[in-house]
Symmetry: C2
Subunit: 352 residues, 2 copies
DNA sequence: GCAACGCGTCGAAGCGATTCGACGCCGGAA
DNA sequence: TTCCGGCGTCGAATCGCTTCGACGCGTTGC
């Protein structure tokens, strides 16, 4: 039992063993349950552990067992992504991980493929979860060569043998359009994420757009897409452009959580009433549909589920059961107060 | 050189040593620089490392050196805090940590003091950084007994021997008030964070409020504070309350980034012009003052600096130089378009 | 000319866990 | 009664790295 600086005594497994009158290996087996231990002995060991305040040394454990009980999570730090949404994923993931007695090591996308390799090669994590996946994701080859479980949140063009989980954004796009179609809208638009997001080839943006476009085609609706930088100015520019191109548009799908409040404020300033003149379908986590002065009809982004599933898929692979798989969650539409039947009489064209 | 599942060969320090024709300890010294190595030998070792693709095993390193090169970061997951602000801290911290060749382990405040103890006692991290500090912070005793460096972002009532870093929120409150006083405002209000934040005794909220109140007293201004839940509804309620209590208020300090856009939208809906009728000083990170249709006069929350400083203070303590210290950054006011001299004629009272 | 020293390198002893094989004991099957 | 198998436990090897002490050699100082 060494003493270490200010901190209390550093208790090792041998200290526990001595205190309980058994050998270290017995303590180890009592802890891991990999061999049976008599109830009698187990209780004695548990008591010693509590009395001495024993915590296994993570490094030693990792060295001996080649398991760290740590998951690496790669998050985007960019500000053109919606930050609260990212945080929701992270929160769900860390909570799920703790339920499996694992911790999360935080990496940033900035480090690129090399960061993933570094952490994995130096055995700092047992598996890797990657957010903000791009269509031609440069981290896929690295991830694949790692020989560790990996889960992508999003779907690249070539997932190879990697697990993916996400909302089915293609279906989500279609769902939003379908809802507007049912309400009789014939001329609709998509207010999408920042152009930068598309240019980067971000997985979900493209998938949603495809779903939106092809559903609109199927319904023979007029439909255009307007990427929108997340600022008041960006919203204004987008709306100008939108109503110049489609002055008779009556439906708007918003796939950009960050601009929701600015959009509603600006529409109200322009005296465009929602949902009378313009119906709005938001695509965002459920807890973001309130707080705008109007409950928004929305297609939910199930951040909590996705984050949790990502961890569970990783854990399953670590457990040996379960192969890589691609799981796309079906979209769920909740009708609230921002959508209504298309105006019966031709709406007044919006001019700016 | 073992082979391990799908992953490439697992290269150890002995493999490198053999390849370079030296002993393992020499490789170790070449890597750490703790003893001098001839240039000749060092080059040979570096070449071997590159050729074999050697990455030191983090667990083994931690075991032998009792250093993990990992910092634990405890973040709040609550949604009543402004999430983008939290993310800015995190981003700055992880970037700074990488500059010191360290990684970040993510803990949540949910785990409470026990989480901190767990991670520290099992030697998963060398130091701990804690966000969202409360006045009577329950993690302080644990942190103190750990015998590891710890840095709080925020200042509890009893910091004991722990390092703290933050914006000087007391001074920030005073600065905002002072600016309005100079412009001739005599009747002002504070739109603060959610009541829950105050009830929790969150460090920065109380400090800001104190700075605000005492500065207003000093200037003999009428001043009240209105905690505001971050939703459209919350903003409306607050404004109702505010103008019922202080119909002649001409200045508003907003210490709640999340409601800024809702606030401006609602004010515009109520035909209260900013800054003619009402001057607004925001307290928020600089990159949040745009995007509202009006550049806001603000007292900056230097998230990047604070996050980075937190890491640097932790590193300094790990390096043995530097004692625990409390660093409060001086506030910086930037005058933009949301503040103007108080209306010369008595402003029309706002009634709702 | 010799002691003292610094430099570059090596070997071996840990660090604190896991895990494999072995062993004694007891109960049930033959 | 003997043999076998499972249970509970132990001892020792091992994981990959750091670090301490030692050693040989070439300099430097008196």
């Amino acid at each position: 039992m060494r003493f270490d600086g200010e901190g209390g005594p550093v208790v090792t497994i041998s200290d526990v063993a001595r205190d309980a009158g058994v050998s270290p290996s017995t303590v180890s087996y009592a802890l891991s349950g990999k061999r049976s231990i008599s109830t009698e002995t187990r209780h004695r060991i548990e008591a010693s552990i509590r009395r001495l305040g024993y915590h296994p040394h993570a490094g030693a454990r990792a060295l001996a067992s080649s398991r760290t009980n740590v998951l690496a999570l790669v998050v985007p730090l960019r500000m053109d992504l919606n930050v609260p949404v990212v945080m929701q994923f992270v929160g769900a993931a860390v909570t799920a991980a703790r339920a499996y007695d694992h911790d999360l090591l935080l990496l940033t996308k900035d480090e690129g493929p090399e960061g993933v390799r570094r952490v994995s090669a130096s055995a700092m994590a047992d598996a890797v979860i990657v957010m903000d996946v791009e269509a031609s994701e440069p981290r896929v080859p690295v991830l694949q060569s790692l020989g560790r479980p990996a889960v992508l949140i999003g779907v690249p063009d070539q997932p190879r043998d990697l697990s993916c989980v996400d909302l089915d954004f293609t279906a989500a796009g279609a769902t939003a359009v379908h809802h507007l179609a049912e309400l009789g809208h014939r001329d609709i638009a998509l207010l999408g994420p920042s152009p930068a997001v598309y240019e980067r080839g971000t997985s979900y943006a493209g998938r949603f757009l495809r779903g939106f476009t092809s559903a609109a085609d199927r319904h023979r609706m007029a439909a255009h897409s307007y990427p929108c930088v997340p600022s008041y100015e960006g919203v204004r520019t987008c709306l100008d452009e939108l109503f110049r191109t489609q002055p008779m548009a009556t439906g708007l799908v918003v796939h950009n959580e960050a601009v929701l409040s600015a959009l509603l404020a600006e529409l109200s300033a322009r005296r465009i009433s929602v949902p009378q003149r313009l119906s709005i379908v938001a695509v965002c986590p459920d807890d973001m549909v309130e707080n705008h002065g109007l409950a928004l009809t929305s297609v939910a982004i199930p951040t909590a589920e996705v984050g949790q599933l990502a961890v569970e898929m990783a854990m399953r692979q670590l457990g040996g059961i379960g192969q890589p798989e691609i799981r796309l969650l079906s979209p769920r539409l909740t009708v609230r107060d921002s959508t209504a039947p298309a105006p019966a009489d031709l709406p007044e064209p919006v001019n700016n």
